[in-house]
Amino acid sequence: MISIMDVYQLLPKTNCKKCGFPTCMAFAVELLGKRKAIEDCPPLVEEPKYEKKLAGLRELMAPLLSTEATETGMVIHPERCYGCGNCVVACPVNVASDPKGTAIGRGPVSGKAILMVEDGVVKCVNVDQCRRFGPEKVLCNACIVTCPSKAIEFI
């Protein structure tokens, strides 16, 4: 998971306010929340002395901005997953929306599940139902802690 401090360390740290925010830390929060882009920090892009920082920041943010991650930042590594379905059954949203399916250990039957096992590997659907979705997100980690092979991560 990308830490806010890691992002901050790669910003100019001058609090120049050119991005429209009072501090570089505030800009880091916006950057991590995907509400601002790296290019919205003019000094970082224009001044040659920040070249290294810019490259570092682009590398750090790459997984978050890639299409591989869902809108909640969930990345599934299918090569590590063995389809045990622990995350499907442990996910609190799955349990609440699917009392006759995932809540009692079966596969999802209600069509509202976030996680399901397809072709032997876990798959994320209905992302908007996830507790980590949207501005009011809750940092739930039920699917990560129950995974024996570390196949799910949030970035």
Partner: protein, 396 residues
């Protein structure tokens, strides 16, 4: 165990599956991969010729051995036992090492329950020498730890406790986190002794006394316990499991602790049950001179005296220790199975069969003893295990 599978087939191949783990998916994919072909002495023949050759080889033997049957339907297993009786041979399943525990369960000396009971009532699940996360990936999510049940509505964080006793930090142990107790290889009995002492209120003779006392308190306060045993437990202390049975008996003085062995094949329990019904004991069973059983009759004890082997749906050459496997590979062998493996490569006669549950129907016993009826999903021209054993009965 997985009773909620959805699969789409196209042209005899599987196209899409839901709720199947990677192992299950591979099993479905194997419908069209590396299937066995009928052969005698390495050259391909017609199916009937292979069965006739197999029957002749078995009928001509003085002391044949029947191996496997863990991946056969109940019907085929029952007929297989009849075949063993007719041949006066020994029947054994070397892949299942939990015969002793199973025998006690079938005799009613060790309490057991179904997986649904575990899901509905169990608040403590103990995995001893067992790593279901690797061997039975859906074990924890379908029944034993994560799902909610009748009396376990609040989920695994509050309502359930997983305890893993193993020699290494297995994937199951990673999930159990604080509930993992590492024992040294062969140290299971000493661990059980320390736990017994702690249960009796004495100070256990282990390094971390506090942790052991906490575990004992947890077990004493449990409302319904389940113990899942794996090959790690069955093989500990060279198969002498008296210490385990006394621990289970002691735990049952506090509350009900049920034992369910994690078995390797889908119908190993069926074979144990069928043999128990006939012989009053589980494998190995000898029909050579009346009915007798005991480890000395099995593949590990008597291998040199057998002059023909019939392997049904199993791969003993790959599973047995190398010296035994080498000896086994030298004996004239008939291999009946679905796929090519080391045993079929070493066999002089191979007979292909249909995959039960996919190409053929039948019934099986889950490892908790619940009967499951299997149905054919795709058409196949391969005969079933049952038909092959029927044909062998006729030839013999």
């Amino acid at each position: 165990m997985c009773d909620d599978i959805e699969a789409e087939f196209e042209g005899g191949k599987v196209k899409r599956t839901m709720n199947l783990c990677r192992k299950g998916r591979a099993h479905y994919d194997s419908l069209s991969i590396d299937r066995l072909t009928p052969a005698v002495g390495g050259s391909e023949v017609r199916g009937e010729e292979a069965v006739t050759a197999a029957g002749e080889l078995l009928a001509g033997a003085e002391c044949p051995l029947l191996l496997g049957f863990g991946r056969s339907t109940l019907e085929a297993q029952k007929l297989g036992i009849e075949l063993a009786k007719k041949l006066g041979s020994v029947i054994d399943d070397p892949t299942s090492r939990q015969g002793l525990i199973m025998e006690r369960i079938l005799k009613g000396e060790v309490p057991t329950c179904t997986f649904d009971d575990v899901r509905n009532y169990a608040d403590v699940s103990i995995y001893w020498g067992d790593d279901p996360s690797s061997s039975h990936p859906r074990h924890l999510s379908r029944f034993s730890y994560f799902p909610r049940g009748e009396k376990r509505q609040r989920g695994y964080e509050e309502d359930r406790e997983a305890i893993v006793i193993d020699v290494r930090r297995s994937p199951t142990a990673t999930i159990a986190a604080d509930g993992f107790f590492q024992v040294s290889p062969g140290g299971d009995a000493a661990f059980a002794e320390a736990l017994l002492a702690a249960l009796g209120g004495k100070i256990p003779k282990v390094e971390d006394k506090k942790r052991m006392l906490n575990l004992a308190t947890k077990l004493r306060k449990a409302k319904f316990g389940a113990i899942f045993t794996g090959p790690g437990l069955a093989d500990a202390q060279d198969g002498d499991l008296g210490w385990f049975f006394s621990l289970v008996a002691r735990l049952n003085e506090f509350t009900r602790f049920s034992v369910i062995p994690s078995l390797p094949d889908y119908n190993t329990r069926g074979l144990h049950q069928s043999l128990f019904d006939v012989a009053g004991a589980v494998s190995p069973v000898s029909f050579e001179d009346g009915i007798a059983s005991g480890p000395k009759f099995g593949v590990t004890g008597l291998l040199e005296s057998f002059d023909a082997v019939l392997v049904v749906g199993s791969d003993p050459v790959a599973n047995l220790p190398a010296p035994l496997a080498r000896k086994l590979a030298r004996i004239p062998m008939v291999a009946v199975g679905t796929h090519r493996n080391l045993t079929t490569d070493a066999a002089s006669v191979t007979v292909p069969t249909a995959m039960a549950g996919l190409e053929a129907g039948g019934s099986a016993l889950r490892s908790d003893g619940v009967r499951v009826d299997l149905e054919a999903q795709v058409k196949s021209d391969r005969p079933t295990d049952l038909q092959i054993v029927e044909m062998l009965m006729e030839v013999v």
